[in-house]
């Protein structure tokens, strides 16, 4: 099981729930198990470009993207990009 933590704007879209424990082998599986998966992925199934995902504090984009295995990971944190101030 891995804990997925959502920012406030997504938690509001998930019935007010900020934390989800999901059974998943990869980051991608963990994110697609969420009730707000359509807000993370576009209609082609691609992660939206301004959605950042951190596994135990590390940005998955630098570690192989959302297909990276979650073996031993404790927390997946979704963070909207803050570019622009």
């Amino acid at each position: 099981m891995v804990l997925v933590v959502l920012p406030g704007v997504l938690a509001a879209q998930a019935g007010g729930r900020k934390r989800f424990e999901v059974e998943a082998a990869t980051v991608d599986q963990a994110l697609r198990a969420l009730p707000i998966a359509d807000l993370l992925y576009d209609e082609r199934g691609e992660l939206r470009p301004l959605v950042n995902v951190f596994v135990d504090g590390r940005d998955v984009r630098g570690d192989g993207g959302v297909d990276v295995p979650l073996e031993g990971a404790r927390e997946v944190r979704v963070v909207g990009a803050v570019a622009g101030g």
Binding site: V9, I36, D38, D42, E43, R44, G80, A81
Partner: protein, 352 residues
């Protein structure tokens, strides 16, 4: 009945409840905080709120509330088919249909229909695959399908307007679409009067005289009395500018319309520093300024969805966060101030 204004802003949705005189208003919100509300409307058939809401990280959505904003349901699976090679960019406008259906306009120049109260949507193929699409181009706000108008006298006739593709009419319930842009200028194009490519900013049909259409365009104000087959240009009859966004009609009088001119597409500010609402009561043959109660000087603007009307009044929301209503005939009252940048105003009713 008393007015309920749905005020969409860059930072959520606000509800403004007015008394019958439209002089006193109470503010509620923000609802859907964190979402840019491009348009919100209350479905007169069942009271549901529908919101075209966008988030710059999480994309374009349509949201429904059956309890006036206490809880929300988000449409799922919203997107464009893979064979179109297009992706949904922004939600723009929701329009209740005639029977149980809903329509939804979006960028890039697409129309959807739902027959299950917005749970699922089907894209309109006739518009998606329109043979002129390659000649369409995005306006400053993207290639937005922002106006959807239904002919109350013919269940097969509907209209859309897209910036910058122009206006289109369907006489077969959305199967095919005819460009209706004859005599409508596109000064920014090499050919000034093309078949498509006009930058229409808002298109409205008069519900009591449905063959009559009005449009505020990037290049003029126009009226058609033949379902868009031909247009008469009206901004030379006393308006200070051909450019503007907001458009409102009087449902009781097909000769009355309201616009808010701005200086040119390059400047987009009020003429002479005055937030001026101009009214015609003779089908556009002449225009008069209706500004009593509006702030002056004011350089603020009003966006394409920032103007609405009901049987009693006209409502205007500004980019500086104010909402104005006409109370007692012709004087403007500030119903709210210091809101976030207003993107849309839509009038509904509530029981006080």
């Amino acid at each position: 009945m008393s007015p309920l204004l749905l005020v969409g802003t860059r930072k959520g949705l606000f509800l403004l409840r007015g008394d019958e005189s439209r002089a006193e208003w109470k503010l509620e919100g923000p609802l859907l905080p964190g979402w840019e509300v491009f348009h919100a409307i209350r479905d007169p058939r069942d009271g549901a709120l529908y919101v075209a809401a966008n988030n710059w990280v999480y994309g374009a959505t349509v949201q429904r509330s059956d309890d006036l904003g206490a809880t929300w349901e988000r449409s799922e699976g919203l997107g464009l088919p893979e064979d179109s090679e297009l992706k949904l960019e922004k939600s723009w406008h929701v329009e209740p249909g005639r029977d149980g259906e809903l329509y939804f306009g979006a960028a890039p120049g697409v129309l959807f229909r739902s027959d299950d109260r917005g749970a699922t949507w089907e894209v309109n193929r006739g518009l998606l695959e329109h043979p002129t699409r390659e000649r369409w181009q995005p306006g400053a706000g993207g290639m937005c399908c922002h106006s959807i108008q239904l002919d109350p006298s013919d269940p097969n006739r509907l209209y859309v307007a897209i910036s910058a593709a122009g206006s289109f009419r369907s006489d077969d319930a959305g199967e095919t679409w005819t460009p209706i842009n004859k005599d409508v200028a596109a000064d920014f194009m090499p050919e000034k009067y093309p078949e498509v490519g006009q930058c229409v900013h808002k298109l409205l049909l008069h519900p009591g005289r449905p063959e009559r259409l009005w449009q505020q365009n990037h290049c003029g104000v126009y009226r058609s009395d033949d379902r868009g087959d031909t247009w008469e240009r009206l901004d030379g009859n006393g308006l200070p500018s051909d450019f503007g966004f907001g458009l409102a009609l009087d449902p009781a009088d097909p000769d009355t319309a309201f616009v808010i001119p701005e200086i040119s597409g390059e400047q987009r500010v009020t003429p002479d520093g005055r937030l001026g609402v101009y009214r015609t009561q003779d089908a556009g043959a002449s225009w008069e300024l209706v500004s009593d109660g509006l702030p002056e000087p004011s350089w603020t603007g009003v966006l394409r969805e920032g103007m609405s009307f009901d049987a009693e009044s006209v409502y205007v929301g500004t980019q500086s966060g104010s909402v104005f209503a006409i109370a007692g005939g012709s004087r403007w009252v500030e119903a709210a101030s210091h809101l976030p940048h207003v993107l849309s105003v839509e009038a509904a009713e509530w029981s006080s």
